[in-house]
Amino acid sequence: MSAQHKVIIIGSGPAGLTAAIYTARASLSPLVIEGEPSSTSDQPGGQLMLTTEIENFPGFPEGIMGPELMMNFRTQAARFGAEFITEKVTKVDFSSRPFKVWIRDQEHTAESIIVATGAQSLMLNLPRESDLIGHGVSTCATCDGFFFRNHEIAVVGGGDSAIEEAIFLTKFATKVHLIVRRDALRASRIMQERALSNEKIQIHWNSQVTELHGEASLTSVTLKNNADGTSAPLAVTGLFIAIGHKPNTSIFTGVLDMEESGYLLTREGSTYTNVDGVFAAGDVQDHVYRQAITAAGSGCAAAIDCERWLEGQH
């Protein structure tokens, strides 16, 4: 068991690393348990690690690459003394103080905790889906789009990220089928207009993917029309899934109050959770804004809430 920390930050996206910068500058010597490498967005640096250019993060008039932005966040936190462990928390006990956090059998204790574990992409949960990841099925257009040059592919989803992916993929693919569950897009108006005016994008309304076909790699999918119940094959070699996110909160089940969907509940206008001394920031408690800048903002708020709470304890 290592020495007790003043604060442990779980997660290392914009929220976790901003909390790290602020708590480190406040001389709280945060321990950041940043997660482990993966090809999902549940990885050190978070969802921006799977993006390319970020055009709307203030302070970068020319834009900046997502992974580079997150490396900068991390370097800035390290500069002020934040300590990092590149592993995933496997269990927590917030029922007594100090709070306990485990990485497998390795125990860490802290006076306070900031939870910033973010969210990750939802999958379709179809048979063969996991076998075909990396063989036509993808959750990361920026990682994999390159390999579909001159292919005909599909994107599932009707929100901003689905449309962003579809438009990005038109740089490579001959045609992009956008599979939309309802008869309307959830995406913002500007993204809708971009999708509708892009000649390479064909929208399939009221449709969902019900089957994936292909042995070594994807060759086609079955599309079901929800309006008339009919099904038809669609020959595509790539399927990009962008149907939304789920919060990374399974380790907090029964420990922290959460919505039915798994998003952590925080006290209105603050980052306090139901456990005194445990704070939550970023997408793990926000399914409304879900932006790097709002996550960073709430990470800053969590650091300040945490610092003041710690002062009040002594």
Binding site: P37, S38, S39, M49, P67, H135, F148
Partner: protein, 112 residues
């Protein structure tokens, strides 16, 4: 780049892979791939900790897409393990070092 990790090209790929005296893991990567950046230091560690057992090489898919196409690489990072010039195992996606070693160990010489 860590000592001992070779950058392959279309011209050198076959020769390096076929002539390797120990199993060789080829990391297909690109500059724009976030997960590739996370796997790189892990592969460097594995290379430096197991110099007798495994060789590690990298192939930039932007520059040498023909090789990526030849092995049906459709996602990066993808890591292909070759032994005696033959493809033995394909690993897709970034993962922690422990899981990577589990993936590799059945194909590596036993003992120290």
């Amino acid at each position: 780049m860590a000592e001992g990790i070779v950058n392959l090209t279309s011209a050198t790929f076959d020769e390096v892979v076929n002539s390797s005296s120990k199993p060789i893991l080829v990391d297909f990567w690109a500059e724009w791939c976030g997960p590739c950046k996370q796997i790189a230091p892990i592969l460097e560690q594995i290379a430096s900790e197991n110099p007798e057992k495994i060789a590690i090489a990298k192939l930039n898919v932007d520059d040498y897409g023909d090789i990526a196409g030849r092995f049906n690489v459709m996602s990066i990072p993808t890591m292909l393990l070759f032994a005696d010039g033959e493809l033995k195992h394909k690993i897709v996606g970034a993962m922690p070092k422990g899981r990577m070693l589990e993936e590799l160990s059945p194909f590596l010489p036993a003992g120290q």
